[in-house]
């Protein structure tokens, strides 16, 4: 079998396994979907924690205890989400360009995307540092803090992934014949956007607890 080029029969072969990239690509895609499923459960755990504690208002300690009206300002959540959303759109755009042969489009898209995500990551850290409450200030503070921390950790990973696609495109590992990794990263970024969106909705819409009559701790008076 001649081996001068990997595309001799019009199909690209993976260099590590020798199988067609469609085959390895479909495996990778299923794997990433499974990872997204698992991450979704984790996101749901945080969102459920937020919503459940909001609804219970145990010992009337949902609202931040260090003074009144110390809810976190809502706009930073949305700014960060918007940055993530745009970064994801850019990445998808670059992928589409790559599939029609424009490698340069993929490179610039990945670079731009990673810079935006980096900005979002820095903004996330700033938001956490500037919360008008501390972690010990009640249930709302705890839940909001952890939504933000989780988002920050995912953003760190997202920056790594986007930069990696930029790098790999430059090194010729992501090509129009083998664009799968770019697609997988774009899929994952999409999931991160959904999680960030839900978190922003919860923290915007669910602030004051509906339960105003929770029994004081340790007593039987209602």
């Amino acid at each position: 079998m001649s081996d001068s080029t990997a595309t001799e029969i019009g199909r690209t072969l993976s260099s590590t396994t020798g199988e067609m990239v469609e085959v390895t690509g479909s495996r990778d895609k299923l794997g990433v979907w499974m990872i997204i499923v698992s991450c979704t459960t984790g996101t749901i755990a945080l969102l459920v924690s937020y919503a459940y504690l909001w609804s219970l208002n145990v010992n009337s300690a949902w609202a931040p205890t260090s003074g009144s009206a110390n809810w976190a300002p809502v706009w930073p959540f949305w700014v960060i989400f918007t940055a993530m959303f745009i970064a994801t759109l850019i990445m998808w755009n670059g992928y589409r360009g790559l599939c029609s042969g424009k490698v340069a489009a993929m490179k610039s898209a990945a670079l731009l995307s990673s810079l935006l995500l980096l900005g979002a990551f820095v903004a996330q850290i700033f938001q956490i540092a500037r919360f008008p409450f501390g972690p010990a200030d009640g249930a709302y503070a705890s839940a909001t803090l952890w939504l933000a921390i989780a988002n920050g950790i995912w953003l760190f990973l997202a920056v790594f992934l986007a930069m990696a696609i930029f790098n790999r495109t430059r090194a010729g590992r992501v090509t129009p014949e083998n664009p799968n990794h770019a697609r997988l990263v774009a899929m994952f970024l999409t999931y991160l956007c959904v999680a960030a969106f839900l978190g922003s909705v919860f923290t915007t819409v669910m602030q004051d607890s509906p339960n105003t009559q929770s029994p004081p701790f340790g007593t039987f008076s209602q």
Partner: protein, 290 residues
């Protein structure tokens, strides 16, 4: 027509003298005539009897410390019997197949030998599958319905949905606030001048309702012989209740690991007559209403 040696010889139902019985009955009758089927049925009956006998032993163990002390505990014991009796045939059938196979009813190959032939190529059996699924579904449905009805009954006993003037003796229910903490129980009687006690004392045949909470970690308020249990959660109030039907001393234990002395977080329930209860209240410094 050469068959295996286990086939019975021609009987009155042989097609030479056709009967009016439906074909499926004929098939069932034929199936029942296979020797191993008869033996399995007998083993099933025997094991069912053993299981039913064991259920009495089980409930006997439950009553060793003086129970049942309330209608709720009676319902629980009745449910144990019902669950066991209804599940016994299925359990017994499973164990019968197990036993018969293990004893070599269908033959066996010793560990040191090699198998020389294959068994019958039974891929599936529609009748068996449908029968099994139907029986299990009916059984599960029965268990569900029984359980739901029992749960509703016990809940109404526990939370006092029976109005006060329908209580036995037309007695006003006794309300007890139960506080669990590491590592003791304390009981307040808010309707009797808020007296506090480390022992639970209740009058017989009067419903008792409990508000339960905890001051620190999760405990579980378990009045053993009365068949009630509810977690004592910090930051929340939970409820249970029962009507004691037996005089005597019973056990209150903590049923959720709560730290160092969880094993010692026990106290006693004493069920006394109404007069004894009233005088006990007065002794504790409380007020009694009529």
């Amino acid at each position: 027509m050469s068959t295996t040696d286990e086939r019975p010889l021609a009987s009155a139902d042989e097609p030479e003298s056709p009967t009016n019985r439906p074909r499926s009955m004929h098939l069932v009758k034929q199936w029942l005539q296979r020797p191993y089927v008869r033996r399995l049925l007998w083993i099933t009956v025997a094991i069912t009897a053993v299981i039913i006998a064991l259920s009495f032993v089980m409930v006997g163990f439950m009553n060793m410390s003086g129970g049942p002390g309330s209608a709720i505990m009676n319902e629980i014991e009745k449910t144990m019997f019902v669950l066991t009796f209804t599940c016994a045939p299925l359990m017994a059938g499973t164990l019968a197949v197990l036993t018969y196979s293990w004893w070599g009813g269908w033959g066996s190959v010793a560990s040191g030998d090699e198998p020389t032939s294959d068994g019958p190529a039974i891929q599936t059996n529609g009748v068996a599958v449908v029968t099994w699924i139907t029986v299990c579904s009916v059984l599960a449905a029965f268990l569900v319905v029984w359980g739901l009805v029992e749960l509703a009954t016990i809940t109404s006993d526990s939370y006092g949905s029976v109005p006060a003037n329908q209580q036995p003796n037309s007695a006003k229910p006794v309300v007890v606030n139960v506080t669990g903490q590491q590592w003791l129980w304390s009981f307040d009687y808010p309707d009797s001048g808020n007296i506090k006690s480390a022992q639970l004392v209740l009058p017989i045949n009067v419903p008792a309702y409990f508000n339960v909470t905890s001051l620190d970690v999760v405990h579980s308020f378990w009045v053993v012989e009365e068949g009630v249990k509810i977690d004592a959660n910090p930051g929340a109030i939970t409820n249970t209740g029962f009507t004691p039907t037996k005089l005597g001393t019973f056990n209150v234990r903590c049923a959720e690991l709560c730290g160092l002395h969880h094993a010692y977080m026990e106290t006693k329930l004493t069920v006394v007559t109404q007069e004894q209860f009233t005088s006990w209240i007065r002794e504790q410094g409380g007020t009694t209403t009529s």
